[in-house]
Symmetry: D2
Subunit: 144 residues, 4 copies
């Protein structure tokens, strides 16, 4: 797997389900957040940005629900940086069922980088852009 993709896994438990016996649609956002934390742990130079006073703040999340995940499913979450805009960036995430590789959901998470001292969104240029650019994966994670 491309080094620019982080992979997390989890097993679906009873508390993830709702009354339809499917994973509740809000829970997937926790799975995605889990994936993003794993991503930033893996990409040390990005984690460093956060230690230096930047914070990633969500501005949009767009999620496609492809198939229902059910009790005991083992899932993988693939996370990568997919594009940079002038003041925002996009993380692409895919959730697959490991047993058969079928797609459960995919999402684009758009965020700004907030300077926590000034409270302002940073322009993504200069050194910051170079650092992020090295992580951008042109082909979205999970489509290979």
């Amino acid at each position: 797997m491309d080094q620019r993709i982080a992979r997390s896994t989890l097993r679906v438990r009873g508390f993830h389900l709702d009354g339809y016996q499917h994973v509740n649609n809000a829970r997937y956002l926790e799975f995605l957040e889990e994936g993003r934390w794993a991503y930033f742990e893996k990409q040390f130079d990005l984690a460093k940005l956060f230690n230096e006073g930047l914070a990633a703040v969500a501005v949009n999340l767009n999620i496609n629900y492809r198939r229902a995940a059910v009790m005991h499913d083992e899932l993988e979450i693939l996370t990568s940086l997919s594009s940079l805009n002038h003041r925002s960036a996009v993380i692409h995430q895919v959730i697959n069922r490991i047993a058969d590789g079928k797609r459960i959901a995919d999402a684009d998470f758009t965020f700004v980088l907030l300077d926590t001292r000034s409270g302002r969104a940073m322009a993504i240029d200069g050194e910051l852009r170079e650092t992020l650019q090295r992580h951008v994966l042109d082909a979205p994670a999970g489509t290979e």
Copy 2:
């Protein structure tokens, strides 16, 4: 307020927050689900469809995070049906802070209507389309 809009309210509590002292981005999806249940309770003829064996299944959720909600904020969730496609429909939802009317988030929730006996998505035509059409609000909820 237009009768085709349902309004729910809630107060932000400690368990809704995350370590940034903001409402966690996954929690908003529970607020939105709360709003959709309130919507279907209000629109009796739609609730009737569900009692007769249809289920609304999410296919996409697209949410914009506009402002952070914080502890003790009183929020309103405005929910309405915004468009019908051939096999899917879209619910538009807005979350506002009641104190000053500022927008916290807005979302479009796209769903199919599943016939729970056959497991198949229904075409939205004939009587079903007429029933749904009466609820469609052209101007999105919360923009008036």
Copy 3:
């Protein structure tokens, strides 16, 4: 109802359930937290303590699950202060199904009062004890 009891209500939604179509046992703790926030909002002199730098920190929660709550149930949460120890205090909480008054769950929540500046648990004596004592309900909430 005794003024020393705070009452909150909520309706069970799909995201509260788990795969058994019952409210998941972890969710009741969020219902209880909701009840405690409502309690402290009602008892102004206690809320004042928190504004002055005290925080209630959980040390034990003991919950009895009496009956399963299910989809669409309307629940009430009754919250009162039930006893004071030397360095801790106990809040008693009851969750009832409103339709028939049946008990769903009851819990005792034991907490210490932390001085957030020193990080130390306060002894509950002097003026602090007098303030709290006025709220203690000898008969547990919900048993009348």
Copy 4:
């Protein structure tokens, strides 16, 4: 580690926290549920009971909060069966911070075994008692 103890691990993420930047007290119940599922996956003969139509239904949970878990903490959850009553059984669970072995929380979860066809709690005797008895750990998990 004694084969009668199951061990799960997890890392604390942003969505587990609340506004105090500690793991919210309701979240620990999800961690404990995670631990119980891992336990039943490990103890095949117990999992078999569930496949044959028994369900474990919570009647009481008693949890001690010892220390606050915070962002990035790696936690372990140790789960074992600790006692059998006539109609109920008790699972003991411990949550430790892996880095230094410090206790975060411990809990006793009392449950009945429900026959899902009759809807009745089973007496724990005969073959069922023998099966369960083999898993009972006299010394509570995590105290060695």
